[in-house]
């Protein structure tokens, strides 16, 4: 089967890549894996046509929830990561009640306001959120062994493998949702919500469903981050980070599953590796911004449109990271 060959190549690359990278680059790789999950889950929300500015804050909800669960209730870390995702989804479910009274631009602004409220609550309440300084000394993942490989979570490589497996499973689930009748209904809600309603689709329920699922996976990503970094504060999840997520999605393109992943990977490599290596330390945001403007001007359909030109026969490519499992 020639089709599986690229997947094995990718799997091999993902296994061996960290070993040729420096320590700081390995750390970036961990962030990259988590960011891929954030931006892919964000795409699920955009399928219904709504763009939220609360996604990163929701990711923070997962991070805070998981950190607090381990600290206050001594929940084991892997369980708390999952619960972090569940709690983020529940918070999103509650938020969706007022937010989905709005559409389009108003939803965008409303989601921003809702996100800021949550963030300011973290800042305001020292108990239990730690105030502006956030939470420190979050329990790391406990080390474990699977026979052929010993996970030592002091090493970024180990955490990368762990995060990559979790992210790969999440991407597989997101992929299956998108390719299911539920995913088709999301598209229907986006393109013609009136016609969808006439076909009996409860448009608001589907918008809420997309928002809740996307938020759940974002929360999971946030929890993964929290237990890696060990410290989180309200500013780790501010609107600046949200702008990065939006940039990845826009530069990559949101028409395909792999578009945002492509955007995230390309821009991260560009930002962290190329520009840093070239010594543009101070001017990095400037150049980054310039590239963003140029790519929107000359590549309005995103990086994915380049890929589609390269292989005209295959319309739907499979997500890049899926083989990481």
């Amino acid at each position: 089967m020639p089709k599986v060959v690229p997947w094995f190549a990718l799997l091999a690359a993902l296994i061996f890549l960290p070993h040729v990278l420096s320590f700081s680059q390995q750390e970036i790789l961990v962030y990259l894996a988590i960011n891929v999950l954030i931006v892919t889950s964000y795409r699920l929300l955009t399928l219904t046509g709504e763009w939220s500015l609360a996604h990163v804050v929701i990711m923070g909800v997962g991070a805070y929830a998981s950190a607090l669960l381990t600290k206050m209730f001594s929940v084991p870390v892997p369980v708390s990561i999952l619960l972090g995702g569940v709690i983020a989804a529940l918070v999103a479910l509650v938020l969706s009640v007022p937010l989905f009274r709005m559409k389009g631009f108003y939803f965008l602004i409303g989601s921003f306001a809702a996100g800021e409220i949550i963030r300011l609550l973290w800042k305001r309440f020292r108990e239990p959120f730690g105030g502006p300084k956030g939470i420190k000394g979050i329990d790391p993942m406990p080390d474990f062994s699977i026979g052929i490989y010993d996970f030592d979570f002091f090493e970024p490589i180990s955490y990368f493998y762990f995060a990559a497996i979790v992210v790969a499973v999440c991407l597989l689930i997101l992929w299956r949702i998108e390719k299911s009748p539920v995913g088709l209904t999301f598209h229907a809600v986006h393109w013609q919500d009136k016609l969808a309603q006439a076909a009996g689709v409860n448009v608001r329920a589907y918008r809420t469903l997309a928002f809740t699922i996307a938020s759940g996976f974002a929360g999971l990503g946030g929890a993964l981050l929290a237990h890696y970094v060990g410290t989180i504060n309200p500013n780790s999840f501010d609107v600046e980070v949200m702008v990065f997520v939006l940039t990845w999605a826009i530069v990559g393109g949101t028409a395909t599953f792999y578009g945002p992943i492509l955007g995230c990977v390309t821009l991260t490599i560009l930002n962290e590796v190329v520009l840093r290596e070239m010594g543009f330390e101070q001017a990095r945001p400037l150049i980054y911004g310039l590239i963003l403007i140029l790519s929107i001007l000359f590549m309005p359909k995103g990086l994915e449109s380049l890929v589609q030109k390269l292989k005209p026969g295959r319309k739907s490519a499979v997500p890049v990271e899926r083989a990481a499992e």
């Binding site: 009748p181 539920v182 229907a188 969808a196 309603q197 006439a198 689709v201």
Partner: protein
């Protein structure tokens, strides 16, 4: 005996404008019922009020005795009343088959957990069979893989109806279905609608093409300036003095 679809003193006000004013009529089961009237008579507004797009200012719409006015559009649809839209309201970015698949949303309700674990094969094949059946019925099967936005106007209108048909409705509300169709397409479509009716689907239709309306409908309600004007079979309506007056202007100038 409860009436099948009953519009009872339906009134729709927009600010100071009364678009529909105390309109009452009944649609019998298994008939093709036409709603006609000059431009601005309030036909489409009536449609929107029946399908749940608008909430009536007063009055009620009852289906088998149950009040459906004021419900949301998807709730009305779930009770068996499915509408089509004026112009080509479709999922233009999706394929023809995917459009019809959205139409099968009600008979084959998607389940997200089943979808993730792959336990919904049965539903998916069922939905696809129903979608293809709907395309077949409206002679669109050969276009299944085309983008809906790329279809010709007549095909787009037919697809709009196929989406509604895929939902197994009891009542189809057709809003100007023949607009943009050539006479041959209109003729074929009329045949399909008769077939639909004979299968037990009730059709309520708003249309400007008088020839089509007169040839197709079992019963016609004519309205003018938001009010009920006349009702009867096509022959009755064709010769009704008020209808002629509404369309052609006051007779007093002629006399």
């Amino acid at each position: 005996m409860t009436k099948f679809l009953e519009i009872d003193a339906l009134t729709m006000r927009f600010g100071g404008l009364t678009a529909v004013d105390g309109l009452s009529f009944t649609v019998d089961h298994g008939t093709i019922h036409g709603l006609i009237g000059p431009n601005g008579a309030g036909k489409t507004t009536t449609f929107n009020a029946i399908s749940g797009f608008y909430k009536p200012s007063s009055g009620a719409v009852r289906l088998r005795g149950e009040v459906i006015s004021g419900l949301k559009m998807h709730e009305v649809a779930r009770r068996g009343v499915v509408r089509t839209f004026q112009h080509s309201t479709l999922f233009a970015e999706l394929t023809v088959l995917e459009n019809a698949l959205v139409g099968t949303h009600m008979p084959f309700r998607p389940n997200i957990f089943a979808a993730i674990v792959g336990y919904d094969r049965h539903d998916r094949t069922g939905a696809e069979a129903r979608a293809r059946e709907a395309l077949e019925f409206f002679n669109l099967a050969h276009l299944a893989d085309n983008r809906a936005g790329d279809l010709s106007h007549g095909h787009q209108r037919a697809l709009g109806m196929a989406v509604a048909y895929a939902a197994h409705p009891d009542v189809i509300l057709l809003d100007e279905p023949f607009t943009g169709m050539n006479p041959e397409e209109t003729r074929v479509m009329m045949g399909l609608m008769r077939k639909l009716r004979d299968d037990g689907t009730t059709i309520l239709i708003v249309e400007h093409d008088m020839q089509a309306i007169m040839g197709l409908c079992d019963r016609i309600t004519c309205m003018s300036f938001g009010k009920w004007l006349a009702e009867g079979n096509p022959d009755h309506i064709r010769h009704h003095p008020s209808v002629i007056e509404a369309y052609l202007g006051g007779a007093r100038h002629v006399a």
